[in-house]
Symmetry: C2
Subunit: 339 residues, 2 copies
């Protein structure tokens, strides 16, 4: 029953299906190129709440509720939640999904959390530990700026390498039985390690994370004896335009050319020119909502057959930043195929 | 291959062994009742570092290094790390164990993180997803006070319901083969949900967490059709003296009397009277170092045969506290038996 493969990968012997999913986003995301594909777009970014943190919790709550509704399931059908976010002590998760009263396994991988939650959720199903699992992650532009950078009221300038945190959450219902309308299938994953190139610029997180994406991707190719053209798309979470260039260059040096297959959720989710988002979108929500609204749709429609979904995370806190530490990265890859 | 049991539990079909473990603590813990049992006691609480956060990272690094050494393993023998801590964005973990270059699955369950990491680590082994895994968690008194409460220099008074965050880290090496000297065996677990009784006093976290411990414990008894006397000890992480009383009372109302079996790591780790720790010890490190140094020793020596190890977490951040939110709790139970 060994499903371990190579140094860091897993090939699932039991298929795990994404039974359904849902995405809820803020106004800016609703005005972006993927705007019409999201399940719900808020009227403003407060979602009827008092604080940004509560608004982010509400995003998670609504995404889970919608995903369950679309899958025709109730909370009591779900064995475990695998969930996390960017706020200190994952507060959006703790307050967002507690009302469902589902056992919770909290995860943290910065903006790679969506990939990590899918990997662990898929393991829980494939190992027979869970009947169904829900994986949910979120981010919110305003709560993230408050957590990591400056008060919004400062109106501080942002360099062109900076990304814009996506206000959004997506939830994915996983199960071992295909049912009638599973959206896609998870077949394998590669777990990333912390990669630290010593970069310290929290306004250029694409460059901080690209080495981690390159590391996980190279390991994935080694573990599966694979090549870039095994995939219709190799999809990172939020490298943005700067990080994309770094990733492609780093991999070229390793002998892999992914320039044909590479796509970045952060580049897709906003129209940088008209939306003033500079290098692209970012945050746990960025890859999650793009997976739910756009990537799974392409797989369902048969436009793509097999993708490597690999969200990237920048491992920083305001304390580590203020103490002069570097910004290491991490990236987890999940292979998602048509049903 | 269904290993799921009841609403929230898992019974492992493949045995998972704690091959070895190690604990590293600060000076105050070294002077406490368990002082002589820890593998390493620091000369001061800075562990040769510039900042408290780096010191906490060093605790994790040393605990992992020692545990690997005691198990006769190298980092490349370990499939995955399951790791987390209390700092914002789990920074002690990100900077503490990156040098080992082992794929990392970051987890967050506040002070329940040790239980969560063992549960997920055991699943990864029992499911055939990992050959060996290391689970590591930490806390540090000074970094936790800075993260959650007041600058130490204020010297603010602490009510008698307050606990003292343990400076310590423990790492556990899990594997599917017993080998010659496995310390114990993980046979089952019960995953907790978020339980919120609406309490808001961050200086009385025992009371905030006790309802979660009661919920997980009741669910555990229901799922396994079990009783308190199935266990030699039922061990919570850091309820302290106030939380212990609340837990025993809550469970009595549910028809379970655990007063004979209950033990709390926070009560064991310090001598409250002479060490001025009030209600007891707390933090991710509290249950972790007590498990490694004391609980596993009792199992090895045959004094106990089977325990339920159930660390408890208080889900708060300084932001949620300052915004007037409650302090919900969560608790994850892991059944640990003699080999």
């Amino acid at each position: 029953m060994n499903q371990k493969l190579g140094r860091a990968s897993i090939r699932l012997e039991q298929p795990v299906y994404i039974l359904n999913s849902a995405s809820v986003v803020g106004t800016k995301e609703g005005e972006g190129p993927l705007g019409l594909l999201f399940d719900r777009v808020g009227q403003d970014d407060m979602f009827g709440c008092r604080t940004w943190e509560e608004a982010e919790s509400t995003l998670q709550k609504e995404a889970v509720g919608l995903a369950l509704e679309k899958a025709g399931l109730r909370p009591e059908d779900i064995s475990f939640f695998f969930a996390g976010d960017l706020l200190g002590q994952s507060m959006a998760t703790s307050f967002g999904i507690s009302a469902y009263q589902v056992p919770l396994l909290g995860v943290y991988g910065a903006c790679s959390t969506c990939g990590e939650s899918l990997a662990l959720g898929a393991m829980s199903i494939a190992g027979g530990f869970a009947d169904k699992a829900v994986c949910v992650t979120s981010s919110h532009f305003a709560s993230a700026e408050k957590e990591f950078r400056f008060p919004l009221d400062y109106g501080n300038q942002r360099p062109l390498s900076a990304t814009w945190t996506v206000t959004g959450s997506a939830a994915f219902v996983l199960g071992g039985e295909k049912g009638r309308k599973a959206r896609a299938r998870i077949s394998a994953m590669t777990i990333g390690k912390v990669v630290d190139f010593g970069l310290k610029d929290s306004m250029n997180m694409g460059a901080c994370m690209a080495p981690a994406a390159a590391s996980t991707l190279e390991q994935h190719f080694v573990d599966f004896a694979g090549q870039p053209d095994d995939y219709d798309k190799i999809i990172t979470g939020d490298l943005g335009k700067v990080g994309q260039r770094v990733l492609i260059d780093l991999l070229r040096k390793k002998g892999y050319d992914i320039s044909e297959q590479h796509m970045d959720c952060g580049i897709e989710v906003f129209d940088a020119a008209s939306q003033d988002t500079h290098a692209g979108g970012s945050g746990c929500g960025c890859s999650a909502v793009t997976l739910s609204a756009y990537i799974l749709k392409q797989l369902e429609e048969g436009n793509w057959k097999k993708v490597l979904f690999m969200p990237t995370g920048a491992l920083l806190s305001k304390t580590s930043f203020n103490e002069g530490m570097s910004v290491p990265g991490i990236a987890h890859g999940v292979v998602i195929e048509t049903v």
